[in-house]
Symmetry: C2
Amino acid sequence: MQELAIDEVVAAACGRARATLPFLARRSRAEKDAALGAIADAIVLEAGAILEANRADHDAARANGTSAAMLDRLRLDDARLQAMARAVREVVALDDPVGRVVETTLRPNGLRVTRTRVPLGLLAMIYESRPNVTAEVAALTLKAGDAVVLRGGSEALRSNVAIRAAVAHGLSRVGFPEDAVTLLASTDRESIRALVQTRTVDLAVPRGGEGLIRFVTEHARVPVVQHYKGVCHLFVDRGADVTMATRLAVNGKLSRPGVCNALECLLVDASDAARLLPPIARALHEGGAELRGDEASRSLVPGIAAASDDDYGREFLSNVLAIRVVDGLDGALAHIARYGSEHTEAICTSNPAHARRFEREVDAACVVVNASTRFHDGGELGLGAEIGIATSRLHWRGPMGLEALTTMKWVVEGTGQVRD
Amino acid sequence: MQELAIDEVVAAACGRARATLPFLARRSRAEKDAALGAIADAIVLEAGAILEANRADHDAARANGTSAAMLDRLRLDDARLQAMARAVREVVALDDPVGRVVETTLRPNGLRVTRTRVPLGLLAMIYESRPNVTAEVAALTLKAGDAVVLRGGSEALRSNVAIRAAVAHGLSRVGFPEDAVTLLASTDRESIRALVQTRTVDLAVPRGGEGLIRFVTEHARVPVVQHYKGVCHLFVDRGADVTMATRLAVNGKLSRPGVCNALECLLVDASDAARLLPPIARALHEGGAELRGDEASRSLVPGIAAASDDDYGREFLSNVLAIRVVDGLDGALAHIARYGSEHTEAICTSNPAHARRFEREVDAACVVVNASTRFHDGGELGLGAEIGIATSRLHWRGPMGLEALTTMKWVVEGTGQVRD
């Protein structure tokens, strides 16, 4: 038997997944919710097989010298498996985005014009170690009426195969085609390249480290919604409430340092820094943060280490926080325009005019006034589950929930109208 | 002096255009409308220079043996120039999409979450002969707060340069940076390739023949919203009002055969074709249409010529209409799924259940019930001017008016909230 080229294998997988789209597009909310329920049940029912596969992945990864952080992301246990099934069930509770009317207008000639939401089509999801993504993305895409081809990381392949088997069993139990959720068995970079160059894919969503995302962007011949790094700033304005500013800085940096909406850089207005910075820095230090600042901040707080140039604009994903004293709101806006990543930018201020200018002039997916950057998240913003946070500008920006997985259709209803 | 590579020239032009974005994003509606007014004035004021440049283009094109249809699209005269200025002024009357609130929710923790529209960024517009596109696209992108790099066809270069000069003079008169609307002087295919591979472009919009669009899609490294061909069908259902069906068929095919929302194929339910097809075919024939049908339709109407296989799924852009007798609604849906272009699909029916199924099951940017396919147009659907009709699924589908030229921003306003 001749070996098929990876491009043909991937194109065939995409073709099979794509063929399920007309079936999925016509399913009612009740039918789709029943499928999600069956998937959640199957995950619980097949917990033994999933955990065994995960143990094999975990052992192999440890033997390969994988870092402790990555091993933790890879690892499943009973509690995490239950959480995975629960995440699928939570999608059941979300409104069906398909058929939602965005807008209806009655034209002067009597035509009724309705813009409604319809499934986006075939998604390609490329992700790294966390195997729970397999189940969560399957649930979200199915609810939106989309098919998905998943390409997970090699370190989690056994786990992903077992989870996808449970998904397939759930689908099949309610009469849905298993190919609606397809997993590529090949986990080398060539399989990613082939996937994002298969023209039948409507949207590719890479989720993972910067290297993965750059690889996808570099090779893609289909649309990509990117989830680049989050270099999030908090600007503490002159006259800000120091207690609030401290709380926002500590929560932003320390509540979960390894995520994309964590704080990476604190900016303080020079004209009020002597009052603001010392207590904020003290609380951050006591909470376990490692502070690196410019000269001005170090002259105010001797415990701050010297920041190097590339500490600004850097996503530490750790307890390190860069600090800089800036020349008022304009200085903060200039710093953010230069070093920000268009992800999440926050201001702590008691000046409403400054809040409005910050909201308007900062170019980012999410701008936060007097709250923690950590709120930039689908669940926290009221969308429910998300497949990631988009920092690209096309199609969608911010947390990608169900609506982001749809496109639109115009429906024109008349009584025989023709155009002049 | 060393010649710069085209990639560097284009990247520099994009960089200059992109640098105007912060300025544009902060302009009020009144300021943007003043700029559009100044551009319209400048077009009228500089009519002499524009028409002279157009005459040179026209003469050169004629000398090159350009087709009459293309010469007509290229040609400007006083009336067309006035229409161009009027089109710019019509954008003044459209609501500013920037700052429009899509949704506001108050979260249980008191956070106010607002999703608003913000400018999309830097557009690349690639188009062919019609020089009025230069002014219209400039007006739409400016109103949306976007910058644009235009790359028009070689046959219209002198006209485009003169129109862009008027745009620049208008911009400069109200203190707007001229680089917000940039025109590439190079008109070979290499300039298109360089433009759609310049990463600072947020969206490329090709408008023109299928060859141009395929070239852009093939080479693009930035997101593209496509405007492929329109192979639009009208399905006449059993029991349909024959007078209405005739009117829709004649209007769809003959009111303007050369456009993308014109009718290319008529489908008639077999069980009622003997009643429906002869009078519809007669009216089409009398109106000047050339009919090509399958055997069933030819047996009902002897004047119909035999259709070849590739007459189905074909965009004639002329007075030719393909006809096919199909097996009811299911037969029509299957034909459209196979041969349609996801542009505009219409049904003429007196059966509301069939109307609903057609609306739901046809996968197209626009589905029309009991009206002409010709209504799929930004103006007719209530959007005002458009830069084209998107048949791709990402970002936008259907007529691309001002809203399609924006992206979104999430604004979160709190009173010191932090995340648990």
